[in-house]
């Protein structure tokens, strides 16, 4: 059994174009949600989202790259560049073949699909660009990261809706722990803020039209976001031998399936993932000072999640802090757990707990310390990151400071 540590982090999301900007926004409780700027917005009932604003793909990629990189791939590559630069690693020789990429996404190249369906169905075109398939495929981001940084080991994409990136990071952790890889670039990405991507969610009637207010009694739904976050997971001795700066240790991971309903979450399944992660990490529950919640701001998730946490932690549930940063960066669906892991690292390293903003009214069914509206300074030993997907698929990661 090898120990696994995080030696690099990178992101681009509605809160910032990199990790420092994002953490600053989280500390300040800034909201990245606003009016969406997309085509045909007037035909949508949901007109808000946490969009990456002022983004110019041509500032980062050349013409040939743009022809192959959907927005979700672009976000991933930018996040990966930041994470790998921070780690100080370069992948050559033996390390190159001992390193891989496992990333989460739900929609993959949804913008590419949307644009091209529009071209053939709405505009009646009979010809599409030759690279639509390699651009839209869900593994495009993982493959381009692998190519760009020469990560030649186990590489693939995980799609478990809202838990995709937690599943991806959990698998990356397990691979290094079991000796199957030395370094894994992991995390997730999502770029679903296009007409079709929002219209489909709108249909489910769980979206808010004004704000994401997790755990607040007057919450009225989720708000979509976009972006990516990636991390360098590295075998501990390898990191130590080269004197790498260690951001946190990945201590445990567990997954479970509700095997119940395709959309309604069940507390028992969530609880099994939480207690499973603690057991895997060999952490007593009292060691957990902070949980980054799944906290979507829907009626169903938030009360189910609070019930699961209350039951899993017993009396300690009232002593720990639990916040949902989706109130700031929106719900990045398949990339959300990755952006949320940044808040976990901030809690461990900087002693700053990111708040749940937009919190207005206590809900007796969510009676935990949700760190309302303002970040808090607190020293925590270990943290959890929850992700509970549609389809009842749960994935919880445990981290510890170093």
């Amino acid at each position: 059994m090898h120990r696994v540590v995080i030696t690099g982090a990178g992101t681009i999301n509605a809160l910032g174009a990199n990790v420092p900007e994002t953490l600053e926004a989280m500390r300040e409780g800034r909201c990245g949600i606003g009016p969406l700027q997309i085509r045909d917005i007037e035909r949508l009932q949901v007109q808000i989202g946490a969009q990456v604003r002022g983004y110019d793909e041509q500032a980062h990629f050349n013409r040939q790259q743009i022809a192959l990189y959907d927005r979700f791939t672009q976000f991933t590559l930018l996040a990966a560049k930041e994470a790998i630069a921070q780690s100080g690693l370069s992948f050559e020789g033996e390390l190159s073949v001992r390193s891989g990429v496992v990333l989460g996404t739900s929609g993959g190249g949804l913008n590419t699909q949307d644009e091209n369906y529009r071209a053939v169905y709405e505009e009646g075109k009979n010809r599409v660009h030759p690279f639509i398939v390699p651009k839209l495929m869900n593994n495009a981001a993982a493959s381009h990261v692998s190519m760009e940084f020469q990560l030649r080991g186990p590489s693939f994409t995980v799609a478990t809706a809202c838990a995709s990136s937690n599943h991806a990071m959990g698998l990356a952790f397990q691979m290094i722990r079991s000796g199957g890889a030395t370094v894994m670039l992991t995390g997730g990405s999502e770029a679903m803020l296009c007409f079709g991507g929002i219209k489909a969610w709108e249909g489910l009637r769980v979206m808010s039209r004004d704000a994401c207010r997790p755990f607040s009694a007057n919450r009225n739904g989720m708000v979509q976001g976009e972006g990516a976050a990636t991390f360098v997971f590295e075998e501990y001795e390898h990191a130590r031998a080269r004197g790498a700066e260690i951001l946190a240790e990945v201590l445990g991971f567990a997954m479970s399936s509700d095997a119940g309903d395709i959309v309604m979450p069940q507390a028992a399944g969530a609880e099994r993932a939480i207690t499973g992660a603690l057991a895997d990490a060999r952490l007593p529950r009292e060691a957990v000072g902070y949980i980054n919640a799944h906290g979507t701001g829907t009626a169903a998730n938030d009360k189910t999640e609070c019930a699961a946490v209350a039951h899993a932690f017993g009396p300690h549930a009232d002593a720990l802090m639990i916040s949902s940063t989706k109130s700031m960066h929106g719900h990045l669906i398949g990339g959300t757990g990755a952006v949320e892991l940044l808040a976990c690292i901030m809690a461990l390293r900087d002693g700053v707990i990111a708040p749940t903003i937009g919190y207005e009214e206590p809900d007796p069914e969510c009676a935990l310390d949700v760190v309302p509206n303002e970040a808090r300074e607190a020293k925590v030993e270990a943290v959890l990151s929850n992700a509970f997907a549609f389809g009842g698929l749960n994935a919880v990661i445990a981290l510890k400071g170093v």
Partner: protein
Amino acid sequence: MRTADKVIEIIAEQAMLDTADVRPEHSLDDLGIDSLGIVESIFAIEEAFDISVPFNANAPDDGAFDISSVAAIIAAVEALVAEKG
């Protein structure tokens, strides 16, 4: 077809019941229609009458659209249809 008959037909189909077994006083819960079934029924109503129903699954009880019983839904649909003119 009368609005009421069409609404009952949609609800009956969702509940997998005969229209004769759907009574005005029934709640959707009585008919075994869960939250996902409600969302699907509302979609069918919107399509059938070409109306937009204000309904958020996060707060099904406090919307402009009363879904507390079959009769309430019929009344709400009739109002939306009348509003459409």
